[in-house]
Structure formats: C-alpha cells, structure tokens
Point group: C2
Amino acid sequence: MSLSIKDVALRAGCSIATVSRVLAGKGYIGGDTRQKVEEAVKALGYRPNRVARSLRAAKSRVIGLILSDICNPFFSEISRAVEHVAIRHGYSVLICNADEDPAKEAHYLQLMEEEKVAGILLSPTRSIAKALDFSKFPPLALFDRKFPKAQMDSVVIDNEDAAFRLTRTLIEGGYRNIAGVFGAKSYTAGVRIAGFKAAFEGVEDRMQGVHQAPAFEVEGRRLMQEILELRPAVDAVLCSSALLATGAYQALRERGLRMPDQMGFACFDDPPWAGFVDPSVTVIRQPASAIGEAAAELLMKRIADPTRVVSEIVLQGELIERGSSRRGGGVY
Amino acid sequence: MSLSIKDVALRAGCSIATVSRVLAGKGYIGGDTRQKVEEAVKALGYRPNRVARSLRAAKSRVIGLILSDICNPFFSEISRAVEHVAIRHGYSVLICNADEDPAKEAHYLQLMEEEKVAGILLSPTRSIAKALDFSKFPPLALFDRKFPKAQMDSVVIDNEDAAFRLTRTLIEGGYRNIAGVFGAKSYTAGVRIAGFKAAFEGVEDRMQGVHQAPAFEVEGRRLMQEILELRPAVDAVLCSSALLATGAYQALRERGLRMPDQMGFACFDDPPWAGFVDPSVTVIRQPASAIGEAAAELLMKRIADPTRVVSEIVLQGELIERGSSRRGGGVY
DNA sequence: TAAATGTGTGTAAACGTTTACACATGGAAA
DNA sequence: TTTCCATGTGTAAACGTTTACACACATTTA
C-alpha cells in the first residue's frame, strides 16, 4: 500500500485537511505546522495520488492527444512539442493513434472523456465532425486539420497557399503534365487540392489529375505506380505529405526515372532524405513544432478559461526550392 | 455534471451495486434486471468514469511509456506497436519524452507512480539504474536497453552480434580505417561498442576509434565533422542509430566525399533515405514493431501475474547489405 | 421437515483527495 | 468591555466506483 495524506498527517501531528492545505499552498497555515508537514512529507517520501485528485476535481491533469499516425515525422514532431508544453504546465499526455480511421478516432474521443482528461488535442478526420456532439466533451483544440466552419480553437498552416506555391514552382520549373498525390480522409487534403488546382490558372492543360489515398508510405508507392501506368505523359508529381512522398519516390526510383529531367518532384514536409538524394527535393517545410506548441498553449488557455474567445491560428509553410523541381538547370 | 452509475440505477429501478455488477458481468443477476440496466445505460448514454474505477482499484487502466526520443523513428514505431497491444488489452498509453536526460527520466517515473499506472515500459538511460528503488514501482518492462544484471522483463536485440556483423561487413568491404559513432548514455551503446571492437580481431589496426555523443541528428553531424578533422585517414564509418547516421551523412555530403570509394558507410536502423541515396546504405534493420509488441505483451502478462518468472527476450537485427559498404564493386 | 445450497439484490464502507463549514484564539476597532 | 476580523485548525462530506456482507427467497438434499 502506498502512502496517503493520512500517514503524513499522523506523523506531522495534524489533520489531513491541514496537510492538504500545506501541499496546495492555500489558506492560512501556521509557520511551524507548515514546517512539520513539509518535514513529514520529505521523511516519508510522500507523493500525492493524482487519481484521487482527479476524481475529486472531476478532471485530471492529463491532456489527450489524438494523432492520425505517430510514425509520420510531422506528427511525432508535433507530439514532442505538445508534450513539452504540457509538462511545463504540470500536465501529462495521453497519446492515441487513430491510424486515419474515423471509427478509432471516435472511440478514442470516448476514451478521453472516460479518463476525464482536462482537454483534447485533435487532428480530425473529415467524417468525425458530424458524428459527435462536441458540446459534451472536454475543451478541444484542433491542429493541422480543422472543421470547415465549426467555432473551435485551431492551429493550421495556410495549406491552400502552400500547395499553390509548391505547384507554381513545378509549373515554372517547366513541367507540362503535373499530377498530384493527396491524402484521402482529411480536411487538409481538400484544401491542398484547391491550392493545387488554383495554381494552374492560365495553364489548365498542364494539370494531370488529382489522386488520393490514405497517407501511408505503401499507399504513396501504389498510387505512384498507378499514375505511371495510367498516365504515361506525367512528368512531374506533387505529394501532399512526407509519407506519401517517400512511397512515391520509391516507385519513381524503381522505374529508374531520372530527376529533374524525366520527372519533377515536390512534396509537403521536409523528411531528412529530401536533402540527401540527388537531386535534392523541393518541399514545403511545415513548422511542426510551432504548430504543436501553439495548439497546446491554446488548449491550456481554454482549460484555464472555457469562456475565452475562440482563436484560429494560421501559420505559413516555408517553401524550400531545391533541385527536383526545375528542368535542365540543376539548382543544387 | 456527467452521468454516474447512480443515474443508471435510478432509471433502472435498482441499486448501484446491481448496476455495477451488470457492467462488470460478475455475480448473479436476474434476467430482467440485466435487461433494464442495459436499457438504461443505452438510453442515458452512460459511460463509466475511469478515474473513479482507478481510485477504487488503486491502479488505472493506463500504461506508461517512457521514450528517450519520440522523434526517433525507431521509437515512434515502437510506441505505435505498444499502443496497439495496449488498446487490445483495454489499456491506454501515457507517453513521456525523456530526451535522453536521466533527470527527466526519473521525474517521469515519479509521475507514472503518482498516476497509478498499471505498468511502465522503459528504455532506461544507464544512470537511472542505481538512482531508483524499483521495488516500489509498478510492474516494469524494459525495451531496447536493459540493466546489465537486474532481474527484469526486457526485450532487446542482440546488439553485440549486430554491431559485430555490421562492422565485419565494412572490414570485408575493404576499408582499412574504420571509425564508430555511438550514443553516449545508453547501455545499448556500450554493448554495440563491444561488438564493434570484437569485429576487429586479427585486424586490430583497422579500428580508428570510438566516438560517442547523445543520439541526436545534430550530434551525429558534429561528431562526423570532428572525425573528418581529427582523423583524416578514416575511410569508413559505422553509426549506431538512424539519427546519428542522418547527421553524419549530412556532414559527409557537405564534404563532398564519394561513397563507397572514398568513404564506406553503415548504420543501425533503416531510415527511408538509406534506400534512396546513391549508393544506398548498408544497415542493420531493427524489428521495432516486434520489439514494442513483445515488450507490451510482456508487461501485460506481468500486470496480470506479478509473480511470473522474469523473461528476457532477445531478437535479431537483420543485416541489409547495400552499396555503401563495399569498395569498388557497387552492389546496387 | 429441517438444513443446506443457489440465486438475486441492497446497504454501506472504502479508495485518497479537496473544501465548505464550524470553531477557537488573538488582537484591533468601537 | 464588546464586537469584529484575521488567523489557524479540525470534522465531515463529496467525487464515482467496487465489493464484503447481509438478507431474502427458492430449490435441492438428507
């Protein structure tokens, strides 16, 4: 059996209420009482029971983080940032992997509620929006993806603009048949597709179609193979995430296609290999840490003051132009 | 206020004990009572309060996972596997990032105890072993790294053998001045260094020293620059992790060193870029998912039966020989 | 027929906190 | 002197569960 506040009270010669007050630093406490309690705490090595605290307070000092895929470096960087902020505020982080599956996502949301987390950080799939009644949930902040019109704290990058710029880079790089590979389930994908399409204004004939699949490496590979098969004219590809890009790049390499001449390439996120391969790959670098940090801070504020005005933070992606997106003149 | 078992009892017209029994599926329950309770649960949308459960049971349905770095793909793959196993057993996962810092690690261990987690999964830094009295902790299972002699459930790969084989590959690839880059704080590093050294039996003069630093990308880069500076004769490098390798590879590339002729290269883990770069990189692939899964299963069993016999599982790393480790004859 | 066993349900205590309330003391203001 | 407020401490209830114990009734066993 572990120690309780009772043991401390016994040793310090006071009531449990007094011990609690000393620990919480609230109310009036006599100087020598405080001393005796602190002494007892130290001597016994007492540590408060967070579960009991949580029950009493009706909410825990834990925040929930629901990710679509923790193996996606973009999300692992986010979770790292979230965790830092949380710890700084005295919270810990319950992480769940939704695997891009709306059913799992809904299930985890339930779980979080049962665990009485103080707040939830979520990067929602598209379908979840209608399925749930969020008014009954703990404070919620969205990151990376958001609901089209819901009033909710969120941190995203300007995906439409980023996709637009990345696409323009390929167009200006001299490619004439550009295909896009996007995620299937997310709000983000939709917005990026819009940016992608918008970039073709005036050169509509250069767009070679939009392809979608769940954002996993194998899917990127499969999709790329399919594109190569179905649309032999394609001479450039834009990928909507590092994972899709990794798979797509694999497929390209297996075909032995030379970049940047035979094939142009650009993607979202900046995986380590993007800088290593030859030619190196043009990317939109997403400020993952900043996103995670901002979202977590937002959530902390919302927890502290649930009536607070809703804020939607939009960050900018950084275009890093490298050798894979310009025909002829290798930049790198 | 959220619903409690009381509300269900009221609606079903029975006592809270009965509701609890129906929910737990324990004890004798009359057919129509069961029906009425289930009906009430559904109608009200009642979900049990896990915090209260945890308090009563003196432990929660949460397991703690303490990682040295969630951004390390090796560890994110592990956490994904752990989470799957946990969920399957009705547990959720509290993830903490120790950042290779023993102090943080100790702090998180404390936190886990306060949260009354049912068990802890840990990849310990070397220094933690003495600092803590593990007898007072919840069930603990170790992965990736273990304590030299402690009796504790653990899952590791045969690091000595893996390092040995990887080093032999470089030696047999024709390199004459081989340096090693290893992590600084872990048990793993020590074992791998042993394997590295053992591989030079008979050709001791080919070993060009062992370098150590915390396992981050920037450190790998720094260390590699240092080696290039201090030991110009070095013609091959072995890196002990993907992160160190990524940094080291960067440094090599910045120097414009051609592989595999001017420089041989091999590393632990199989990051995506290892297959992309030219020549592609020879690696030891660690079965991260298998490690995570096995460790989590071990922990589940330990939770179910604390008196269970201790098991130490050793998996094998898979040597993937590619072009970066053989002089002259490009394999790929 | 009496005792034993099986089935179904309720009462109340316990888990470890926090906190409203009550009470006691001392000094300052009236 | 009385009243009032500030200070310090204790008692007990509450948070939402689980479960030991008690009880009631029905059926089986001797």
